[in-house]
Amino acid sequence: MTTVLASLNQALHRCLAENDLVFLLGEDVLDPYGGAFKVSRGLSSQYPGRVLTTPISEAGIVGVAAGMALRGMRPVVEIMFGDFLTLAADQIINHLAKYRWMYNEQVRVPVIIRTPMGGRRGYGPTHSQTLEKHFLGAPGLQVLAPTTAGNPGALLSSAILDAEDPTLFIENKLQYLEPVLDGENRGEFEIQELGETFSYRLTVNGAPPAVLTLAAYGYMADLARKAMLSLAYEDEIFTELVIPTRLAPLEISPILDSARKTGQLLVIEEGALTLGWGAEVLARLAETDRLHLRNCRRLAGKDTPIPASGPLEDATLPGVTDIQDTVRKMLQP
């Protein structure tokens, strides 16, 4: 069994081994610590000159990485908590994401910014957020989120080695310990990779046709698939789950194709509801002529900061039972 954490860590090892121009920058990334969430463990021992532990300068290190990329390197930046991406917002939006286009395609800026988002650990308002929504619509920026239904490490390494554009790689603190659903342990799920769309479709093994489509990414997709299972076994409600791994630019067709088939769509995300990823999904759905679903909904974090206290945090972020409840409600006549 490979966890998401191990898959990502191995990918970083592979990338540093494969290409001398790959560098890693981040706060506290040196061994034995290996980064706050250990994704970078072992790298500094193996590639001492190419792993830079940095000052606490989120904007600065993203900017430094941009400069490295403009001069032919392939830097990877670890931002310790996704909450701190806001500090690099100007670098990302007004520098990295613009250079290629505004310099008339003369340059590429292959900087990969990895960072863990997400709550449910009681870290409180400044260390629990899911903030990628604030970056999703920035022209020129790619946003990826790994899934246990695919290969997290492969997604990361292909970004590091091949991306032409600056990329946010959005991880999740709780997702790290989830097992990757490879061959042996797919368990009750059937997983279909949807060609060039960076997406996966997941159904419960041997289930009848789905009556509702779930769409979710990252760790929320893991919660969604847990909800799917009990909906299937306890309520005999059969759903299918579409999981995109590229949130920007977003290929919407896998979600729409499924929704067209089932007639109902629930989009799930951990970030605060308003103008989250789900808004773009539903907007594109709404714009699609003659795609009038019986029902579509978003389930997301509440539009408040994230409290530290467990019971409050539980009530703020969507969990497995919230998904089940929402699906049941949607299916009520």
Partner: protein
């Protein structure tokens, strides 16, 4: 909203006892922080606290030496390592335990947790560096409103990495904000030793902005107190922002179980730079034992009380 400045900080929630001399008050102040933090670390594995914690063990003399001399209108902005500052300011130990435990009786009703406190004129936030302009603005507000208040803001050596700190230093100097920047240099940031993260000079970071700076390498509250007094005096006399670089020692892990330093190094620090040990011999042994006992009882009582407090009810949340 009202800004409450009526009651003196440093007086709340203490046990009653015989009138104390200054050495005893300092000792009690440091000991309260020490035992509180040890209790937090000890009990963390029980799963009764949410999130994580950054303990102040080893740095107690800073908070006590500086904050014990604040007056009610003064303002404090602290960072992730705020428990010691909060207790020295006079914050309730019970409310702090309760906040860490996510209880309704916590400093912020469980919303904030360990790093996000507000009570009276005490504030903290967990984003490194970003609090420095806020504190500068607070100092300016006090100046414009002519309250005579001084503002104290705490930052660590590692936090010198954040650019916004320099934006704030520049404005504090340009506009002569009545603020004391306290740089607690424990020579490490999480796991990163200062030499890997801070180039050049610590004092130079302030003097480049024409902010007078005093450097002190001490864990002795009796040495820290008068220096802070001098600087606060300058601020109160309208002489603009001042900086205090305190070379200090973090005895514990950054948060929990994440200390990558050699244990000999830590033992050496604990032997030579313990603020409590340094100050203890100045007390009458009997008084010291009495204070120790009182503090132990206070901490245990606050802990037990907090542990019995209710969680907030999500359904009570108004703004959702």
């Amino acid at each position: 909203m009202s800004i409450k400045t009526t009651q003196a900080p440093g007086k709340a929630d203490h046990l009653e006892g015989a009138p104390e001399n200054q050495a005893e008050t300092w000792y009690r102040g440091m000991k309260r922080i020490r035992v509180f933090e040890e209790t937090v670390l000890e009990n963390f594995p029980r799963g009764i606290f949410f999130g994580t914690t950054h303990t102040y063990i080893g740095q107690e003399a800073n908070a006590v030496g500086i904050l014990s001399q604040l007056t009610p209108p003064d303002v404090v902005f602290s960072n992730h390592r705020c428990h010691g500052h909060f207790l020295a300011y006079g914050g309730s130990m019970h409310a702090l335990f309760a906040e860490l435990m996510g209880r309704a009786t916590g400093v912020c009703g469980g919303r904030g947790g360990s790093q996000h406190l507000h009570w009276r004129n005490f504030y903290s936030n967990g984003i490194q560096g970003g609090i420095v302009p806020t504190a500068t603005g607070m100092a300016l507000a006090e100046k414009f409103r002519q309250t005579g208040a001084a503002t104290v803001v705490f930052l660590g050596d590692g936090t010198l990495g954040e650019g916004v700190v320099y934006e704030a230093l520049n404005m504090a100097s340009l506009w002569q904000a009545p603020i004391l920047f306290v740089l607690e240099n424990n020579r490490i940031a999480q796991t990163t030793p200062i030499n890997l993260a801070v180039a050049g000079s610590l004092t130079g970071r302030f003097s480049a902005f024409n902010i007078p700076v005093i450097e002190l390498d001490s864990s002795d509250v009796q040495e820290i107190h008068p220096v802070a007094q001098t600087l606060l005096g300058e601020i109160r006399h309208g002489n603009g922002p001042q900086a205090l670089v305190l070379h200090t020692c973090r005895f514990g892990p950054h948060s929990k179980g994440d200390d990558t330093r050699r244990s000999e190094e830590l033992e050496q620090l604990r032997r030579t730079r313990d603020p409590v040990l340094i100050h203890a011999p100045r007390l009458d042994p009997e008084r010291r034992a009495a204070i120790d006992a009182e503090v132990a009882q206070e901490v245990a009582g606050a802990f037990t009380r907090a542990l019995a407090d209710p969680y907030p009810n999500p359904l009570d949340e108004a703004r959702t």
